[in-house]
Symmetry: C2
Subunit: 253 residues, 2 copies
Amino acid sequence: MRRSGTTVGGTVIPIGEGRNGAAATKQRVLDAAEALFVEHGFEATSLRAITTAAGVNLAAVNYHFGSKEELFQAVLTRRLDPMNQRRVALLEALEDEGGDAPVPCDRILAAMFLPALELARDPERGGADFLRLLGRAYADPAPFIRHFLSEHYAPMIARFKDAFARALPQLPRRELSWRLHFIMGALSYTLAGTDALKLIHEIAPADGGANDELLLRRLAPFLLAGLTSPLPDLDEAGGGLDGALGPSAGERR
Amino acid sequence: MRRSGTTVGGTVIPIGEGRNGAAATKQRVLDAAEALFVEHGFEATSLRAITTAAGVNLAAVNYHFGSKEELFQAVLTRRLDPMNQRRVALLEALEDEGGDAPVPCDRILAAMFLPALELARDPERGGADFLRLLGRAYADPAPFIRHFLSEHYAPMIARFKDAFARALPQLPRRELSWRLHFIMGALSYTLAGTDALKLIHEIAPADGGANDELLLRRLAPFLLAGLTSPLPDLDEAGGGLDGALGPSAGERR
DNA sequence: CCGAAATTCAAACGTTTGTTTGAACTGAAC
DNA sequence: GTTCAGTTCAAACAAACGTTTGAATTTCGG
């Protein structure tokens, strides 16, 4: 039987927990799952591989988490929720500080990136591995992963979009949505990297959190430039794509 | 036994091919695999689901392609190689046209995006589904997928990086590598989208190639702004991240 | 120190997976 | 019309999967 213990004042008091209690087992499973999920992906990671790496019994996952899918969600929630809460807290601090004036774009972007940076720097809290897992989860087609992400991400995204809308009043809402989407894309893809990085040479191999910091510091100015760029002329033929090609490029086949 | 037929003048002449010949079987398998891989991912798509959807025998995949992994590579190659060849061809046309002068950034970017745009517009050649599959493959941790992509992508990437380096002589090579990586990230993430799009509202749901065209036309100017932005000051404390936060945001915990 | 609850454990559950097998079938060349 | 390589087919393969079971063990309040 699975029990969650007696609740006192809203906080759950774990019961039956000695030197190697249930909490230690759960944490070892979460740590092992985090490392293996990021290395092989969700589908390709078996519960046997996780429990073996964690040094616990196979049945421990279903006992403590219910199912493999719930374990995956638990792995994400452990790091993601605090990071997003911190993001919103930073943003609100900036807004309170500035009074009625809108927060500048670069500061809003900093509020998005800093918590990720802190997480990448802190191996105790998962370090860069978790950020890679998060980037991978974004591209995973599994419905339960998409549902999870939209539920845990949408509120934060909406919060930041409102802030950006105030900072860029001349930018149509629709255009802002697109640009935010591009930002999330470059961010998650970059965080998921390390493997795809090898496609482009001259980029130092990943060697811990220090590298992720440099990465985000290069990414932020890049995205800021795109975010604050003037409106493109979507009406013109080709929208700057077809039209940009010379006549000699037109002859195909 | 599997034979490839007699070769005449370098081209393979298929043998034993009636109304429903071997070539038709291979194509039906490729089409079904393409649709299912993009919907469920590589690991979560079974050969039985593919062969059932294609209306062929289960053993057909191993007979014609060898294994599930080789089938996946065949699905990618069919669309990817022509697209990348076209990209390089467009770029070379621009370079020949301009003589010794470097090709402008926006035209180089157009040479990267146009072939993807054409593919998205053409349902006969896979349409937008394949682009989504490609975006997913980028984030897949499977080693054979990463090897495949680096082999089939690296030459094109290197080619375009040289072109960008000529167009942006003031930009350090290292910085250019990063920015190109960000571009590939935003592009692949955006192409893989449709699901993640729902995180940000106000974006019209995907309804075919016309939408992908609008998407790329918004993405290209966004990335162009980041690509041509001035060098960030990486020496300053925080690199524009920590420094951008006000004093009140500094107090954590 | 006892008893009940929480947790761990080895074993087995029933499916599903990718792949292989050998016979049946097909279609053209001789 | 016989031959034979190419292709299709139903069936079976061993292995791995997530999950369940019920007994053994640990834990701790009373």
